[in-house]
Amino acid sequence: MASIAACSSPGIVPKQEHGEDPMQIDSNAPEQRHINRVPEGLLLTDYLRIYYGKLFPYMDMFKWLSYGNADGKHPGCDSSYFGRREFSFTIKSDRDEIYLRFQSFSNASEMESAIKAKCPTKIDIGAVYTVDPAKRHAYAQSGFSPVERELIFDIDITDYDDVRYCCSGADICSDCWPLMTIAIKVIDTALREDFGFNHILWVFSGRRGVHCWVCDSRARRLSKEQRSAIADYFNVYKGGENSLKKVTFSGPLHPSLARAYTDVLKHYFEEKWISTQKLFEHEERFHKILQLIPDESVVSELAGKWQGSRLEHVNSVRWDQLKHMLQSGSKKTQGLRRCIEEIVFSYTYPRIDIQVTKGMNHLLKAPFCVHPGTGRVCVPIDPNNCEQFDPTSVPTLAQLLEELNANASIGTDNYMEKTSLGLSVNFFRTSFLEPLFKTCKEELESAYNTKIQQSKDSLNW
């Protein structure tokens, strides 16, 4: 394996402040595991410095967050737009962590130099404000408040810990990650079909969840109340720690939930979740399910049946028994009618952090940041192929730098293309940025034309 130290391109060698060879990264390991984490002894910031120096897609981020306003030639552009956006940096020094809020940049190169200089371990993106957030104090009187903000979603797999038996906390595996896949599918479809949004960016959060950025102008201009409404629309799993039943349907499913159920949840729950999580094999697990059935006679009959010997395919057999029981003519009473759906929703329906979605000035980690714990890059996820996304094969910083070294001799100045980050950035550009940019231009154009038309009209009067 190539080492950075031996690399022919000295420009990308991290500064050696610790006198250790950064390349003693277990070079005999057969697989890629060794590059999943930033190696001991080497500061994350050393790696980050190279990442921000050579790889971070500044222009793409700038183009995205300008929403067509950066093109100074068009008279309809608002040249102050990008400069009114809040960024915040988390900077790690030796001991402490510094959190810098209300950073702002008037253009791409200002942003680039600031990031390179400060080398933040995390970059968050906030709202667009009435005025440049850096000068907010000067405008405190006339009002400093957020005016635009992408509609955002934050889904974290730790919020599913009560139904996830394979892992807990920050851990994920290929058995439970599909919960995130389901969340992407369900929310993405609803955002497009129900709300009519088109410019939606899904991003891996770097360890155990996903973020969603809805970037349509209509989404960016939503009020707090409207954001709350959307958050509540998706908020099916609720109820406090002290309530057993978190999902309750009083009537037939709303069309949006019915679609989620038949297209995604039901299939996944029955085919995958009950067997990977062995939901009916262990008494304590199936009791948890039985608790969701508000009919004691049904519960005790099923619990009785499930005592003792384990048969083959115990999980699917027992689930079928449960379904049969709840659907059989006699028991098909009002109360139990929705029980099967309630169980499936309890275990699989997306659990969003509603506070994040509701707020206008909530900060959310920028795409293409590097998760300081895992070293993985927060890459975009294609919602149309989200089943294929494997969080364990997302490039890490160390891996990217190795690739950079390995391909150093390839004759191009585009460092990104030399690494697997290139794929992610390309996806970002072609599937998200270009269509978004096109729409922004059209909207700017038509808004400008209407304005011209209006002023003409008023002159005529």
């Binding site: 009519g196 409207q226 509540d232 009537g251 499913l253 709303h254």
Partner: protein, 457 residues
Amino acid sequence: MEIVRSQRRNGSDGSAGAASLPLYKSAPSLEVRLEEFERCAIDRLRVLKAISDGLSRGKKPEEMDNLVGELWRANMKHQDVDETLRKDIISHFALRLVYCREEEMRRWFLSMETTLFRYRFRLQNAEAQKSIMNELQLQYNVLSHAEYETLKDKLIQAARSVNSTSNPETVFYKVPFEDVPDLVAGRRVFLLKGFAFVPRNQVVSLVCTIFRSNISKALALTNRKWRATIHDQEKDRLAPIVEALGNSYLGPDYSQPRECAEISLKDINQLASSSFPLCMRHLFGKLKEDHHLKHGGRMQLGLFLKGVGLKLEDALAFWRAEFSQKVGAERFDKEYAYSIRHNYGKEGKRTDYTPYSCQKIIMSTPSTGDHHGCPFRHFSEENLRAALNKMGVGGRAMDDIMDKVRNRHYQLACTLTFEATHAASCETGINHPNQYFVESRKIFQSKILVRMLITIV
């Protein structure tokens, strides 16, 4: 004009016409006397404040409906529709001035007014609702028959998901989802490509969104006027008081209810008429009238006064001032002063007598010449009505109170009386005259500044 008037009158039997629900688009050019201005503003404030209380206590929608209905009837409704309308408009614009100044106040006023409007809109008949929608320029398209047919299944499914029993609507409005946030939040409408399909019976949500945004803009405008001209013109008169109001009204009254530890003699008349429960109010009135009370009455009232914070010296002065008019100061000092000191534990066994609870008062057995006891239990219906009337209770509240009395729920009747006279709910119920007093003070202390302001206007 004559016709409009009579039509309006015709609709006045509960199901008033559109004109009975104004949209407060522009300030009226009415001649308003100061007293009227003050009374209107306070009455509306009672309604809004109680709505706020109800919401903050997490009352359910149906409970809120009842609450708002009750409050409106008790505080705003007049037999004459035109009078009610006039009061409605005057009070709204008065409070708009009071609440325009700061973000937090605007937000509070806005959401209380919207809640009130929502309730009142729902009570309008279809015709009136339609004319309000026109007036608000709600230019939404009704779904064509062809469109309805293609979406029918989903529309019915969405309706049944929230209410599986009701008859499905066939008239739907197609509106941007942004305009009906509450319907989106509750998944009460079908959504397709950014449009919400609002059934006719849910149209109130739409109307409220527009109403809210209109009032919000109007408040911002009033605020600008306030800053630009009114504030300067009223620099020495109105402005300081409005500012004081902003700091104190919405702030501490909930969170830190201040129990008044002491009352002074000069305030006692005022307190009696605003914050004494009926039993004490009656004793107090009789004492002033007859300059005398028999033993049972002296005990009941005396201990109550001790409980509300009247010091012994003041208590002696108070009783002496009354009794001496009838029996002379000398005889008072000789015969009656002792028992008052006794009540304060200064004589005899020196035990500290505690004020009587409702239960004790209700169980007491007053006889001829006695005025103590609980009026809800011991008064005839006729006398009770008269007494309540004097407290300003009437209409529906009166009926509800008499209902409780007939069912022997005296303390509940007392609680309702409290609520009707304070325009605030009393969640715990009344079980002690002194508790009644403390609760009452909490509410009035928060209102005092408002009264000051309005008097000055």
